[in-house]
């Protein structure tokens, strides 16, 4: 080929390539809808607690835009705990639509969180849809009322489970080598705590006359001795309260600050994302630097994160309220008090509890003869610095002789036990009505208002009685207007003297 022939060939090839672009494309570019699969299940909205050995049944709803036979199903699960490694295996536990699976302890470890996924695939298109479930492996003691009993000076815990069965000697059977002293108080958080003493989670404290401890919220084994919960063990150990306050994040409580009362003095603890373990510190001083006070165990904890006074407590000795800070107790500014003086109440506290108005706290108090209802709020503004809202002389017979009191958070009622009776006091009308009368000699020793009974949505009043030899626990359903009904719905018997109780959530 000579030079001219080469150039001619080159031009011909280029022209051929150029005109090839004019060829009409006869491809099919219409959009064709494929089958779209949707998987839904209301149970996926909340964490599911499963027990080892129990059967997990899930029946998600599956819809298709084009009905197609032969969908394939794949249920697989992996450990999704915060401290789990990224390379943990993924296990397939079923290949059918509806899950009916016996929770295998070889895959599901007690206390761990898992992400369960259902993958639904259309075999014609290969397109898949997914639904995710969050699981936590729990045990049957994960939820229920924990009853702290005094068995001849030694503490033990029984539980009433959501299915109304009783588990007795729960503590002593799990912790046979760590007997408890004389019981004083039990407390359990309903929200997770990040204190870096252990993995984030719920916290349970058992307090006895001269000791205390943290229980593992999952296994109920003794976790930490009392002294370990403090940077420096208090020289006198007489704990009466140990727990955590919370504010509302949306509708859910979220950790704010730990509070304990030991030997009448307040200690506080922090939470947060900063590193290092958080423990309770030294006792808080009064504003003048002193420690001359005797704090009650009731706490008014503000629901709002930005509350002016996040934590308010009452000094029994000098009959006054304090705002609790991280390094000291603080008095209230003069402008905060108009209806009564927060810094000098001059009455004895019977019960400090929440009310049916969010952000308003009810303090049932008394002088020598008369009960009073004092109410205050925890949020003040520059324009409205006053937090005291009411002081009412209560028309409530028998109230001055008891501290068995609980307040409704749904209706304007306060329930109190006096002798063998439960009386309902209405804050708006300043009247009382007898709600229930137990057998003669059966004294009401504890009342707890449960705003929402899990699984039912209804409110419940839990009453504990003591007849000298036996404690009983009664459930009353509380109506929308605060009535208890003609009688209780359940009674649980055969307990030693119950000194305190708390509802444990998983």
């Amino acid at each position: 080929m000579n030079k001219q022939s080469f150039y001619i060939s080159f031009v011909l090839v280029a022209a051929l390539a150029f005109f090839a672009g004019c060829y009409k494309d006869k491809g099919n570019y219409d959009y064709t809808s494929v089958n779209k699969i949707t998987v839904t299940d209301a149970r996926a909205a909340n964490r599911i607690f499963v027990f080892q050995g129990d059967t997990l049944r899930l029946s998600p709803a599956i819809t298709q835009t084009i009905q197609t036979e032969g969908l394939t199903y794949l249920w697989f699960v992996y450990n999704n705990s915060s401290n789990s490694a990224y390379n943990l295996p993924r296990d397939t536990i079923s290949r059918v639509k509806d899950l009916n699976y016996v929770v295998d302890s070889r895959i599901f470890v007690l206390g761990e969180n898992y992400r369960l996924t259902l993958k639904v695939t259309d075999p014609k298109t290969g397109v898949s849809a997914f639904i995710l479930y969050d699981l936590t492996v729990s045990n049957k003691l994960g939820e229920g009322w924990m009853l702290f009993e005094d068995k001849g000076g030694e503490g033990d815990v029984s539980m009433i489970l959501p299915n109304n069965t009783i588990e007795r000697k729960v503590y002593s059977s799990i912790n046979p080598t760590a007997p408890l002293g004389k019981p004083v108080a039990i407390n359990a958080t309903s929200f997770s705590i990040t204190d870096d003493l252990s993995s984030p989670g719920k916290r349970i404290y058992l307090l006895t006359e001269n000791d205390g401890q943290e229980l593992n919220a999952l296994t109920l084994q003794k976790k930490f001795p009392f002294g370990y919960l403090y940077f420096a063990t208090p020289s006198v150990v007489k704990p009466t309260f140990q727990g955590w306050t919370a504010y509302l994040s949306g509708v859910n409580p979220f950790q704010r600050m730990g509070v304990s009362v030991n030997n009448g003095k307040v200690h506080v603890n922090l939470v947060g994302g900063f590193p290092g373990i958080k423990k309770w510190g030294e006792a808080l001083s009064t504003p003048d630097g002193g420690f001359d006070y005797d704090m009650a165990t009731d706490i008014a904890g503000a629901a709002s994160f930005s509350a002016t006074y996040p934590i308010v407590m009452f000094d029994k000795k000098y009959k006054r309220f304090y705002s609790v800070g991280t390094t000291r107790l603080a008095s209230f500014p003069a402008a905060a008090s108009t209806v009564f003086d927060m810094n000098n109440v001059g009455l004895d506290l019977l019960k400090l509890d929440s009310s049916n108005v969010s952000g308003v706290w009810s303090a049932v108090m008394k002088d020598a003869t008369t009960p009073y209802l004092l109410q205050f709020k925890t949020l003040a503004t520059a324009a409205d610095p006053v937090i005291t809202t009411a002081k009412i002389s209560m028309n409530a017979p028998g109230l001055t002789g008891t501290n068995v009191i609980t307040a409704s958070t749904l209706t304007p009622h306060i329930y109190y036990g006096a002798g063998n009776t439960i009386t309902k006091y209405e804050t708006t009308s300043n009247t009382t009505a007898m709600s229930f009368s137990f057998a003669a000699g059966e004294t009401v020793t504890k009342l707890v208002y449960q705003k929402v009974v899990p699984g039912t949505g209804a409110a419940r009043l839990v009453a504990v009685t003591w007849n000298g030899t036996e404690s009983k626990v009664y459930y009353f359903t509380v109506s929308a207007v605060g009535d208890l009904g003609a009688t209780y719905t359940n009674v649980f018997t055969g307990f030693s003297k119950i000194v305190d109780l708390v509802y444990k959530v998983p």
């Binding site: 000579n2 390094t327 000291r328």
Partner: protein, 242 residues
């Protein structure tokens, strides 16, 4: 001449040449100068024995030393000099551990022993320490403020240690600690050191630790006053915490 074949040959030759050129081994960029040595952080250290119990007669600081060049398979020595301008005396206020870079080592923390001497109760002595050449190492580098006894951002040849047995006001008292403990006094500071056990006051630490320290100080002062009455500082004022 077959032009097409010629072009093909030329292009192929260029391509092969270029590709083979990529196969040539680059010389690695290595430090090829003399071995040198320097402080790998420039620093001025303030040290007081006053926060230590009386039983503390010697304490140890660690000076960070690093070499330039490769490590070698033998121990090498370097030299430090306490400059004449220093008020601290080598062998009396300050001594060094052996000035050796061990074999196969690039950096060390050199122990520097500080000695508690009676004169420190009412004075502050300063050791201006410089790196000087040795048989094994030349000087490292200065690329900033220079001069004997001074340190700058990139001055890696000088180190300064101030030693005293007095309670000196922490440099951050007026910006940090005043918020928690109020007006400074030596009596207050001594009390805080005693009851909290804290010896480093350059930062507050974590919030929970800070809170515990404040709570502890208040409780300790309360107990002190119960036993002894008010604690009075060197200005005649009662020690209080806000």
């Amino acid at each position: 001449m077959n032009l097409f074949n010629s072009y093909t040959r030329i292009i192929a030759t260029l391509a092969i040449g270029l590709s083979l050129a990529g196969c040539s081994k680059n010389d690695r960029l290595m430090y090829e100068e003399d071995p040198r040595i320097y402080f790998y952080t420039s620093a001025v250290v303030d040290y007081t024995f006053a926060v230590r119990p009386a039983s503390y007669t010697v304490d140890t600081l660690y000076m960070p030393i690093r070499i330039m060049g490769s490590a070698q398979n033998r121990d090498r020595t370097f030299n430090l000099k306490v400059e004449d301008s220093s008020t601290a005396k080598l062998g009396y206020h300050i001594t060094f551990a052996p000035l050796v870079i061990p074999a196969n080592t690039y950096q060390i923390s050199l122990p520097v022993y500080l000695h508690r001497k009676p004169g420190l109760k009412d004075s502050i002595v300063t050791a201006h320490i410089s790196i000087v050449e040795s048989a094994d190492f030349k000087l490292g580098y200065i690329n900033g403020v220079t001069g004997t006894g001074t340190t700058g951002v990139l001055d890696r040849l000088h180190y300064r240690i101030n030693i005293t047995d007095q309670l000196t006001k922490p440099a951050n008292w007026e910006t940090v600690w005043v918020n928690y403990f109020g007006v400074f006094s030596k009596v207050k500071f001594q009390f805080l050191i005693q009851v909290t056990g804290r010896t480093s006051w350059t930062s507050t630490g974590l919030p929970q630790d800070l809170n515990f320290m404040i709570q502890t100080a208040k409780y300790a002062l309360y107990n002190y006053e119960l036993a002894n009455g008010p604690l009075i500082d060197e200005f005649g004022n009662r020690v209080v915490f806000p």
